[in-house]
């Protein structure tokens, strides 16, 4: 296990300690597994909470900041936070305008955050929930609500966070974020497994020369495994699956995210984007803006995902709005 760590056991807590030491003016920690904006609660603003397992930085707490979200509950590696952690986050960020829970569609998270929402409601905090469920590889379109949430959550944070920063009400933030979620699709490819520090061995085996299309960000199986293809072939397979699913239509303006899973160099992500851009141009889908880099990772997994979000005027304005956290800045 070629990792820089002290002990697998306090891995998450030491990471949090490092993050707080590095960014003391931007983040604070109301309880051991809750990270919120240093200036939370932000008066007059709908608050946005998220949470999930560790090992995906900058997901989740990396998006806590200006123009994005207000707080995140932190689980162990690939494991849900507790309902208590989410409740702590909720209390620390609530400014009386309501709280949006925005997180990926995973069993443990849903169980815990639904409970937290109930408990928050008992305290008089209004909570609404939107799930990221963008992974087209994880269920057919007929069962889209059972899909996993992966890198597309970045666009949802961006939209919801910008809407909240503009002063929208909870139901307005919910409405525009649901529209964003309805138009967001992701699919990924894994080229290597990753190792949970406390487990010490890779979650699965993927022989050199093989790839797995559609693999989940915790190593959950994808739609097919086969010989590693070229960047252009991968771009084709990911893009076509996404375009067919919404379906996107000629003329739809899109936001694009090419996301690295951890070990894949930015050089390769741009080669992948080159293939994607050609297909989008040929399909008549204008690209409004592109993000390329590590936005939702799986520790040191090699691979990438592609996300497309269909834009309208509101969504275009909201993805372009400025934002700033210790992990992500947009001017």
């Amino acid at each position: 296990m070629q990792k820089i760590l002290n002990d697998p056991e306090p891995f998450v807590d030491e990471m949090l300690e490092g993050i707080l030491l590095a960014h003391p003016n931007e983040l604070r920690r109301p309880s051991p597994r809750a990270i919120v904006r240093a200036d939370a609660p932000v008066a007059g603003k709908v608050a946005i909470a998220t949470g999930g397992g560790s090992g995906h930085l900058p997901v989740f707490m990396g998006y806590v900041g200006r123009g994005l979200i207000d707080g995140a509950a932190i689980g162990n590696v690939f494991a849900s936070p507790s309902s208590d952690d989410m409740l702590e986050v909720t209390r620390a960020i609530s400014a009386g305008k309501g709280v949006l829970y925005l997180y990926g569609n995973y069993g443990g998270d849903r169980l815990n955050f639904d409970l937290a929402a109930e408990l928050a409601a008992d305290e008089g905090i209004e909570v609404r929930t939107i799930l990221g469920a963008d992974d087209v590889a994880s269920a057919p379109s007929g069962r889209a609500s059972s899909r996993r949430g992966i890198a597309g959550i970045f666009f949802l944070y961006k939209v919801a966070g910008a809407a909240a920063a503009e002063g929208a009400s909870l139901s307005e933030v919910v409405a525009v974020t649901e529209r964003a979620a309805a138009g967001t699709r992701t699919m990924g490819v894994a080229l290597s497994p990753c190792t949970i520090p406390a487990a010490g061995v890779p979650t699965f085996e993927l022989p050199v020369g093989q790839m797995e299309i559609g693999m989940g960000i915790h190593g959950e199986p994808g739609v097919r495994r086969g010989p590693l293809e070229t960047a252009d072939q991968i771009a084709d397979e990911l893009t076509r699956a996404i375009l067919a699913d919404l379906p996107f239509a000629r003329g739809d303006e899109v936001a694009v995210l090419v996301n690295g899973l951890g070990a894949t160099p930015k050089e390769e992500l741009y080669i992948l984007y080159r293939g994607v851009a050609r297909i989008l141009a040929a399909e008549g889908l204008p690209v409004h803006r592109v993000w390329v880099g590590e936005y939702a990772t799986s520790l040191e997994m090699a691979g990438a995902s592609l996300t497309l979000m269909r834009l309208d005027d509101d969504l275009r304005r909201l993805v372009d709005a400025p934002a700033g956290t210790p992990f992500f800045v947009q001017g």
Partner: protein
């Protein structure tokens, strides 16, 4: 069993289960890795350690309170899908309104019934969906039957353990209904569901004690 408090029996079973879970960490990780994220052994290690730490403080509590404390502790310390469902199940068992003067096997049957119902409801699953329920439901049923038939505790627990084990084995040929769908490459075929095996391990530990 001198100085035994009202929950001494429960605590002693708890210790046996926790220790077995610690021993089976790698196996549970491996099974969970087949179709999931490979961390069930880690989560159960966290749960087991939390329970072992908690155990001394439980003996003197009423049994339902001891069970509820286990649930809330797992909810805090091991909040994965599996862990949280178990936590909810324990809390549901504690709430089942089982009178302390009911004979032990009947109490156990009532707890387990409430627990299995909780997993089905919270997890939105039925038997055959390839989850922990596929081991829990038959084990609960075996205890109910044995309690009604008036069998002794060792026999009853042995029955429950073999029912759980058989249920876990059967998951190897089940297709998952929750999470991933049937259209995904079914790598899990031939492998037991991790959560079902976990339940079987727990019942085996209880029976062996």
């Amino acid at each position: 069993m001198t100085d035994a408090g009202p929950s001494a029996g429960f605590v002693s079973i708890l210790g046996a289960i926790a220790n077995d879970l610690l021993d089976r960490k790698d196996e549970l990780n491996r099974l969970d890795g087949v179709a999931g994220d490979g961390d069930l052994g880690l989560t159960m290690t966290a749960a087991a350690n939390a329970l072992l730490e908690l155990a001394p403080s439980l003996e003197s509590l009423p049994e339902a309170d001891a069970i509820r404390r286990c649930g809330t502790e797992i909810a805090r310390k091991a909040p994965s899908t599996g862990g949280t469902l178990i936590a909810f199940a324990l809390i549901a068992a504690a709430k089942a309104g089982v009178a302390p003067d009911v004979p032990p096997l009947e109490r156990a049957a009532a707890y387990l019934d409430a627990a299995a119902a909780s997993v089905a409801q919270r997890g939105q699953v039925a038997p055959g969906d390839r989850t922990m329920l596929d081991a829990l439901r038959p084990a609960a049923d075996a205890i109910s039957r044995a309690a009604k038939a008036g069998l002794d505790a060792p026999t009853t627990l042995a029955d429950a353990a073999s029912a759980a084990d058989a249920g876990a084995r059967e998951t190897a040929s089940m297709a998952a209904k929750v999470g991933r769908a049937g259209w995904l490459a079914d790598r899990a075929a031939g492998h037991e569901d991790a959560g079902a095996r976990l339940v079987a391990i727990a019942f085996a530990a209880a029976a062996r004690r």
